[in-house]
């Protein structure tokens, strides 16, 4: 990593106890869940990381500790630096503090994470489903949620699938 980024990373390690991971010249910091809002605030105000590029989650089922990693990608326009943050969360109904107060565009990102993974964000102004229908049950991108595919209709099973398929007749 270049010098600018290493000074920022060492300052954050001192203050918040984050652990850096470097993979393919990209830096990620493992951050504990309670401190994520403060870390983001420091990065935005003091180190000028003005833009939140991406916010998503990864599911590590069947492993429960951690069950998910929530990933943030921050970008600094003035310094042209990218930095990633990873927050491990445990359990089946996990929750994290929201960062909509720091970066307003996290609003829809967090709604999508709630919809797809079931991770709650405390303090979010409007947490409801965004991509799935309003009364859908389940969180689709979890690893224990089935893909939901239907059997492919070849010539040997054409008739039996034809009988089962709910065609609309009028």
């Amino acid at each position: 990593m270049n010098d600018d980024l290493s000074t920022i990373v060492s300052a954050l390690i001192e203050r918040y106890g984050v652990e850096p991971i470097e993979f393919r010249q990209q830096v990620s910091l493992m951050t504990p869940a309670e401190k994520i809002a403060q870390v983001c605030l420091t990065l935005r105000d003091e180190f000028s990381f003005e833009m939140l590029s991406a916010q998503t989650a990864v599911d590590y089922w069947p492993q429960q500790e951690p069950h998910f990693h929530v990933i943030y990608q921050l970008y600094s326009l003035t310094r042209n630096l990218r930095l990633g943050l990873r927050v491990p969360v445990n359990g089946n109904q996990p929750s994290l503090p929201t960062i909509t107060t720091v970066y307003p565009n996290a609003n829809w990102h967090e709604r999508e994470i709630w919809d797809m993974f079931g991770i709650r964000f405390e303090g979010h102004p409007d947490l409801r489903r965004i991509l799935m229908p309003y009364d859908w049950e389940g969180h689709p991108l979890r690893k224990d949620y089935p893909l939901g595919y239907e059997e492919v209709q070849f010539s040997f099973n054409y008739d039996e699938i034809d009988r089962r398929k709910p065609y609309a007749r009028e």
């Binding site: 799935m132 229908p133 689709p140 939901g148 595919y149 239907e150 492919v152 398929k165 065609y167 609309a168």
Partner: protein, 160 residues
């Protein structure tokens, strides 16, 4: 048109009521704008200058279901969109036809998962399926001409 050939131009044209009605239905079939995804762009290309659909009578695309007779379902139909599709189909007045354009509307296409309805014929009855991902504008026009042939073959007892 039968008598005219035998007796020359008598100044009077005779044809069956079926033929007249079907001819008028095919020559001014107005599609409803139902472009959902990538196939919609090919539908717009088919409407534009290179592969003109106006030559087949589809001069405009009406957005309102009350003023259109053909619904071209162009694109993938997700589970959230399926009730909306059915409601719009119900709002179209008779006679109405449906063309399922593209692979996703016909059979689910490349996607086989929780979010896409595998084939729009689970929601509305389809008359013509056009295959392709997305189908070329020429393929869509071929599908529309196939529909015209089907309409010309409709009998009076189907719609009276």
């Amino acid at each position: 048109m039968g008598i005219e050939q035998k007796l020359g131009n008598m100044g009077v044209v005779t044809l069956k009521l079926e033929q007249a009605v079907n001819w008028s239905r095919t020559n001014a079939m107005w599609p409803m704008l139902f472009g959902l995804a990538c196939c919609a762009i090919e539908m717009m290309s088919a409407q534009a200058s290179n592969y003109d659909m106006s030559r087949f009578g589809m001069e405009l695309m009406r957005a309102s279901p009350r003023q259109s007779d053909l619904m071209i379902v162009a694109g993938r139909v997700s589970r959230k969109m399926a009730p909306v599709l059915r409601r719009l189909y119900d709002q179209m007045p008779d006679p109405k036809w449906v063309i399922s354009m593209g692979d996703c509307a016909s059979c689910g296409g490349v996607f086989n998962n929780y979010a896409i309805v595998p084939g729009v014929d689970e929601v509305v009855p389809v008359d013509v399926y056009v295959a392709g991902c997305p189908p070329r504008p020429e393929a869509l026009i071929h599908g529309i001409l196939t529909l015209h042939e089907k309409v010309r073959g409709e009998k009076i007892k189907d719609w009276a």
